[in-house]
Amino acid sequence: MKILSINEWLLSFMPAGAASITEMVLIALIYLTVFAVLGLYLVLLERKVAAWFQLRLGPNRVGYKGMFQTLADALKLVSKELTGTVKADKFLYNLAPYFVIITALMALSVFPFTENLQAFDINIGLFFLIAISSIGVIGILLGGWGSNNKFALIGAMRSGVQTISYELSVGLSLLTMVILTGSLQLSEIIEVQKNGWLIVQGHIPAMIAFMIYMISGTAETNRAPFDMVEAESELGAGYHTEYSGMKFAYFFLAEFINMFIIAAIATTVFFGGWLSPFGITESIPFMGIFWFLAKTFVLVFLMMWFRWTFPRLRVDQLLTLEWKYLLPINLVNLVLMAVIVWLNITIQF
């Protein structure tokens, strides 16, 4: 019951049953709003960052400096005609967006945005995140298969092999950090970091784990340089070729939310989540949100930076990178971290 004790406030003027239901509805509404706003502004950020890298202006017409550009785009998408093919497997085709949206939304629910702002403090938080983020790919596979379109099918299959491969590295690099924390609960992971962020506490293996995590996290979200899945020049739009209007928007939205989730996990596990550096703003309530978002957006920016720096990988290079480099390095790194914790040579403040 962590969201600002909404429950106690509600209990003061309504019976217990009604209070808990109202609480749930309120929390769901808050998160849906956060979800939509994040999605819209991450798209704008991506376009602006892309523009800066290419010395363009980017969207700047709708609203102040293009602030409402994606809002206008969203309205346009809602009012677009929903086309689909007659040959599609209707049930799977329509089911796919539910998978990607629900998993993204559920993953968002476990993050501690600040000390008291966490909807769902589950004791296996990190494990839940790894598990839920791997369900999203089922939506992509369903969409690609159900569309009955060759581009979509190839895109979905590529996405499948890429996501399951890189999932190993995501899981193992996060496990490396779990050795340090001794807990999977996200609030406890942050508690541990009051003695120094984990990337400092675990020094060398933690930095290796962070690098592996960022590489495989980028691959998990199907972003460049790992965007063979929707390589425009060969596949049209990849797995969502047959989706139009609002149905396309779900995939687009989920992709950006997933990028935020990957960055937010890294923030929580490596960079102390909502903790301020050296505790400088510890006395001010709700500054945690600022720090959490600041760190997360720096990492989001890093992922956008990747996109404009590295060329796209081929499928064999992609699999070689994961199975012949990242996975063995990860296993060795795991042992290295275990030895460091065992010899107690972590850095603690």
Partner: protein, 116 residues
């Protein structure tokens, strides 16, 4: 919130997608045309079925993933209690990872990690 949060967020997701679909159906224009309902293939008429037997390489990597993902699942409880167990846990995990590494080396040698 307790574990009912899972259900709440699940329902929120369903409501979001179903609601936006409904809204979109309400205000979007509709026009029908047999050509529009064909699958997109660069403007050509589609040739042959789409649901064919797919390249076996994808399947092999899925099997490899299955093996290693189960191992990762085994590692999770170990990582959590490592701090309390100390040297015994370290020795045991070295044996475990040695066997796992042998498996990876075997797959590598057999050419299962090669994409062709």
């Amino acid at each position: 919130m307790g574990s009912e949060a899972i259900i709440v967020f699940f329902l929120a997701g369903v409501v979001l997608v179903a609601g936006a679909n409904f809204l979109s159906n309400l205000i979007s224009p509709k026009s029908d045309n047999p050509q529009k309902r064909e699958p997109y293939e660069s403007g050509m008429t589609t040739i042959g079925p789409t649901w064919v037997q797919f390249k076996v390489g994808y399947y092999l990597f899925a099997i490899l993933f299955l093996i290693f993902d189960v191992e990762v699942a085994f590692l999770v409880p170990w990582a959590v209690v490592f701090g309390e167990m100390g040297s015994i846990a370290l020795v045991e995990i070295l044996i475990f990872l040695f066997i796992l590494g042998l498996g990876l080396a075997y797959a590598w040698k057999k050419g299962a990690l090669k994409w062709e």
